[in-house]
């Protein structure tokens, strides 16, 4: 009998996490909706039809229509693209930059490490949304600038995380061994350090996906993110806020979509952490 590969082992453990599996299914569903939005949507998400203004949910419009008669279901589907892409973009940006800084700080050590970590302290001092708002405001309101702003407040988390991992790994036998046989720094980083920081990064990233989706929607809600007529969920809630008592569906469906998407990522994050973090494994 061959020993199971780490991947198989991981999957075997992950399968036992029922809630995480539910989360995974939800996320996959959202990704499918995002990818196949053009096929799934019965209407053009930007297509206006004044006679259908504020139509209630039903056969014609599954999730109803907004003030301009735009189909809310179609907008939600396209909105899934925006939210998921936002999450992926921010985390790639912040994750890569943060990991690079953390890796560098941890590996270089000394005053370099010290000063880089003080820089992250500075970013941690700000309540994230206030800083993101100030940055987005300074750059001018647009989805792209909102993503930059959220990335700027997110990267220090990854820098800290990776640095912590590197500090531990640096002293481990296999790194010491590699160094003793004369491996170059870059080789050690690429071969040994980076792959071993991946699992905590993955856990962090899946939690942050939810956080980023909420943050971008929050920025859009107060006007610093996506601009109309973009079917971004935060914008949809903002546009529907005046109708919340009279036409609940304008805000309810984007909010519930966001709830499911974010909860999905959080559940997967929980599951991943339980499986990958040996300290918490029972």
């Amino acid at each position: 009998m061959l020993a199971a590969s780490p991947r198989q082992l991981f999957w075997r453990r992950f399968r036992k996490e029922t809630t995480a599996l539910i989360g995974l299914v939800v996320i996959i569903a959202f990704f499918l909706v995002a990818v196949f939005a053009p096929v799934l949507s019965p209407y053009d998400p930007l297509g206006q039809h004044i006679p259908s203004s504020l139509a209630a949910p039903g056969g014609e419009h599954w999730f109803g229509a907004d003030k301009l008669g735009r189909d809310i279901f179609s907008r939600i589907a396209y909105g899934a693209r925006i939210s998921l892409l936002s999450g992926v973009a921010v985390i790639t940006l912040a994750g890569l930059f943060g990991s690079f800084v953390g890796m560098f700080a941890g590996y270089a050590g000394g005053w370099m490490d010290e000063s880089l970590m003080r820089v992250t302290d500075i970013f941690f001092a700000f309540p994230s949304l206030i800083l993101a708002m100030a940055i987005a405001g300074a750059l001018g309101p647009s989805l792209q600038n909102a993503l930059i702003a959220v990335a700027v407040v997110t990267w220090p988390v990854y820098a800290r995380l990776v640095r912590g991992q590197v500090l531990v790994l640096r002293e481990r036998e296999f790194v010491q061994a590699a160094r003793s046989v004369g491996a170059t720094n870059s080789l050690i980083i690429r071969r040994h350090l980076f792959p071993n920081t991946l699992s905590p990064l993955l856990v962090q990233a899946s939690f942050d996906m939810g956080g980023v989706i909420l943050a971008v929607a929050g920025l859009s809600f107060i006007g610093f993110g996506a601009q109309p007529p973009m079917p971004e969920w935060g914008v949809m809630i903002s546009e529907g806020r005046n109708y919340i008592t009279t036409h609940w569906w304008l805000t309810f469906f984007p909010a519930i979509s966001m709830l499911f998407a974010v909860a999905g990522f959080n559940l997967v994050g929980d599951g991943l952490r339980d499986v990958l973090d040996p300290r918490l494994r029972k």
């Binding site: 930007l46 301009l68 109708y243 008592t245």
Partner: protein, 561 residues
Amino acid sequence: MKTFRCLTAPATRWLGLFVLLSLLLSACAAPAAAPTSGDQPAAPTAGEQAGAPAVGGEVSREDTLVFAADQTDIITLDPAVAYEFGGILPAGNMYETLVSFNPGDPGVLVPVLATSWDVADDGDMWKLTFNLDPNAKFASGNPVTAEDVAFSWGRAIDINKSPAFLLIDVCQIAKENVTAVDAATLELKLPKTVSPQVCLAVLTFTTAAVVEKAALEPNMGSDMGESWLNDHSAGSGPYVLNKWDRSVNVTLDVNPTYWGGTVPAMKRVIIQNTPELANLQAAIETGDADIAQDLGSEQAAALEGNPDLTLVRGLSTLLVYVGMNATKAPLDNPDVREAIRYAINYDDIITLLGGNAELVQEIIPIGFLGHTGNNPFTQDIAKAKELLAKAGVAEGTEINFIVPTATAPGGVEWSTVAAKIQSDVAQIGLTLNIQQLQQSELLNIYRAQGGELVMINWGPDFPDPDGNVTPFANYDAKSLAFRNDWNDPKAIEMSKQAAIELDPAKRTELYAELVDYVMHNGPYIMLYQPTRIFGVRNNVEGFMYDPNDTPTTSFWLISKK
């Protein structure tokens, strides 16, 4: 857990920390000293002390009027500086002008602080003489003198904030041409390039309101008393300032010794800042508010038939429009501007507004002299495309479109109207990139000629067609024509001519010609003239919305049953 490893700390940093710590501590402790309690009088001043009425104290709910409105735009309560609806409403109820328009009786000037006035031809100038009412007195008990008037106008000119152009440019008032002949007589000289009628209309605006010199002079500070007037009032109007709780409300108390007839019924008026439309609706439904200003069309529809309140609709004098920068490609081509005008479905916009607007495609609103009632544009995609092709504009050309945040006059979101226009214009192959900006920020860009397409509204500062025509047509007035970089000699000349024409029939004719010229050559897409919707609880009597008057709502006319 976060750890800080900074080990050394030079003495200077300690000093810094100490200061910052005390900063925070003082931030928590300092307010104790500020007089914010409603039980205290609004800090009587040298001038006010004598017969100063007791302001503040408890006022019963029956004697209190709660007026809910979006007051986000409020910056100041100083009448010389206020140029926002949010500030003009309270300022207009605390301060008085020499003349005014009678609420509900448009176009007729009536005496306020001046009992009579006279316009005379004084050679190369007009000479206006105002006789002040000898009974007029400030809330402090001191009489209103010509000296106070000259001081107030001079102050507004010196302070030179947003509304000062009304006195400086529209009326061309120079400080040396305002003379207090004696306590009850004021003389004002105007150049012949100004119509005295237009200037009299300007003088009804809060910028020309009279503040008490004796009360303000000791408190001028470094900003000519502007910040002092944000926490105190020094007027002769029916109400005095109790307090302005920034971003929450403005509380006005009755001036118990008001000189101008009967003392108002409402002992206290609270203008409650209520920016969310849904909350505005709830406030009037629950009775938390007695009057709700500017309900949205959806809120109005929901409140229709509510037995506790009445919806009062009044056509405003505002015009909602899109400005097109006349020097930025492709908008520099008049055919492109005309094409965009033909691309828009105006009726759909009125439908979106739930009918709470009139279709107006000219620069003079309904109710003003010179309004023609011509609405030549209806959506005609073929014609629009033809015009675009003639101009040689490529399919897919992108144009930036900046629009304000929040709700547009008429009661739907600005972004909704913008998205509607965007989708209409897309049909002729132009791509509009919408960017939403807070109104003040949008105005900054617009004033610096930085916009391409800009959607916003315009309201005349005084009820005369010149209040619209000069801004819209005269580039040199540095107003709307300037903002859209439309420097058209013909329009400028015509607007100047019409402004000083004294014969109404002739004037109407001139305006008709100009309106038509601007309609097709100008840089504007005129969209609609909105209706403002007020929710009024049934126990409130005497409420009137008069778009031509300053203030638009006169609290002293209101009572409760």
